[in-house]
Symmetry: C2
Amino acid sequence: MKPLQNDRFLKALLRQPVDMTPVWMMRQAGRYLPEYRATRQQAGDFMSLCQAPDLACEVTLQPLERFELDAAILFSDILTIPDAMGLGLYFETGEGPKFRKPVATAADVEALPIPNPEDELKYVIDAVRVIRHELNGRVPLIGFSGSPWTLATYMVEGSSTKDFRKIKGMMYSQPEVLHALLDKLADSVISYLNAQIAAGAQAVQIFDTWGGVLTPEAYQAFSLHYMQKIVKGLVRESEGRKVPVILFTKNGGQYLELIAETGADAAGLDWTTDIGDARRRVGDKVALQGNLDPCVLYAQPEQIREQVGVVLEKFGPGPGHVFNLGHGIHPQVNPDHAKAMIDAVHELSAKYHA
Amino acid sequence: MKPLQNDRFLKALLRQPVDMTPVWMMRQAGRYLPEYRATRQQAGDFMSLCQAPDLACEVTLQPLERFELDAAILFSDILTIPDAMGLGLYFETGEGPKFRKPVATAADVEALPIPNPEDELKYVIDAVRVIRHELNGRVPLIGFSGSPWTLATYMVEGSSTKDFRKIKGMMYSQPEVLHALLDKLADSVISYLNAQIAAGAQAVQIFDTWGGVLTPEAYQAFSLHYMQKIVKGLVRESEGRKVPVILFTKNGGQYLELIAETGADAAGLDWTTDIGDARRRVGDKVALQGNLDPCVLYAQPEQIREQVGVVLEKFGPGPGHVFNLGHGIHPQVNPDHAKAMIDAVHELSAKYHA
């Protein structure tokens, strides 16, 4: 395998100097790309696409063919772990993910196995190996997992939810059952991410999509605590380089100081936090990743460029910024608008690294 | 009409001493009550219920028959103004509100009338009059409106939305069109709330349900700015008493200092902000309303009481707290659990006002 040709992303995560701000997009391999939709159709359903390492590799690389991205991210789903635990993940057209056997009781939690990444999750680890090989050193590969709290919301609700009724009912009525579930999930995520790292992931991101729906106390006890356990349990070096960890709590802007104390290398920011304020708050403790409002990509290229400039200027000069959207790119976005954003990041950021 | 017998709520909003913390619930007249569901069935659809002052009065009073609430809130919908502007509000079973004629262009905005509250919105103002009469001084009556930004999201999207694609597309591409719409909405809200106050509303709340989906800059420019205009335009005294204004931006915890500067008397808090921190941040500028996680009501009465105690203790001793949920009560909640919360607020709060 060739040595890494573009390490801007890894350096920025460790707050080392770079020539320009690196950029990638959450869900960069996704439905906004016609070539993705074609591969997806070929695969059949969404999980078949995730479970075929060659196809997962194909869609992972698609956005790199179009755009000057500084990182690739493993194409997979956040719910692979609960599925591997036997909950029976399935998707119905036009609806979110569902589980055939949601978790409701202490006995349900007790019965859950910790999946073996090289067995029930081998399709993911194989995808990491295939993608690393095909990337051939072009850009680094990001592995990822959902956070324990985020995985638990789907496992207890049995589906997407707007009100988090069942999981919060469990949290307020039977906190010990939820803690047992989260602890088992944290162990599963550690083993899963370490297997991704061993297979070639060069950085990992923990997606805490639903941490922001909690009270500040509950966030610390039921989400952050288990992410911290994961950070401490990860193998942080591979192939002679540090493997940076990014922790992203959506709607978690108020928790940045706490996130910076977990030992993670970088904090993901959604667009509801001012990245300049965020930098002042975390100082040199962590790098920051973000945080353009994904809806900016519905505007015209000229306006996109302007908004990219605002985010770069807010962060200001010096290292420690990975540019990204504040959440996944929307399926309806014109790919040319994504290109406008990515090119603008590189062009407008050079002056901040002079 | 009898003089007001319980003015705990109005006093707390003005940070005056009270004997115990007043409490009401957002959506306290709602689907979790079987008697509400019966009246609703009698009315036919949701808008028919809103448009019949006697029935709106009936459901407004229902929760007061069950619980020791310290305020009543006008039963109505936040989308009455856009409907009165001619957008054609309708509801389909199991789905959110929709508009037959959404707003898309500068010409659409230009064509919108500012509704006359005593004409197209007379049914709301009549409901205020009937409710005030029937309350007969028992507790104060709260009037309300959606914020301009929140109303505009539905008017431009044409329905509920998860991604705010159209309105943010307008915001980033044609900000001047959106500003024209928001300004017209602010004028409409001023006239609407002043009519509610003239008809007997003793406090008013502005619901900024969607202000929290914006970037900090956009929040100030597209949501807060217009709420500030409204606060300045309201008649703040009626029947020899001050009419307090509550401003509630969901997911707006980071903007409390800004909200406190608008001239509003109180800031509503959802459950993602620590109310003790919030009090330290706003000092004596505004009262605070909130902020129990509505999902606490899925737990058992004993646990509900405990969580009420946590919120009261966080706020601490002295005036300036109106207890509430951090958002509307969920339709699936057992009414006895709401009672457990309300009774706990009164019982546990007396010591903080000794």
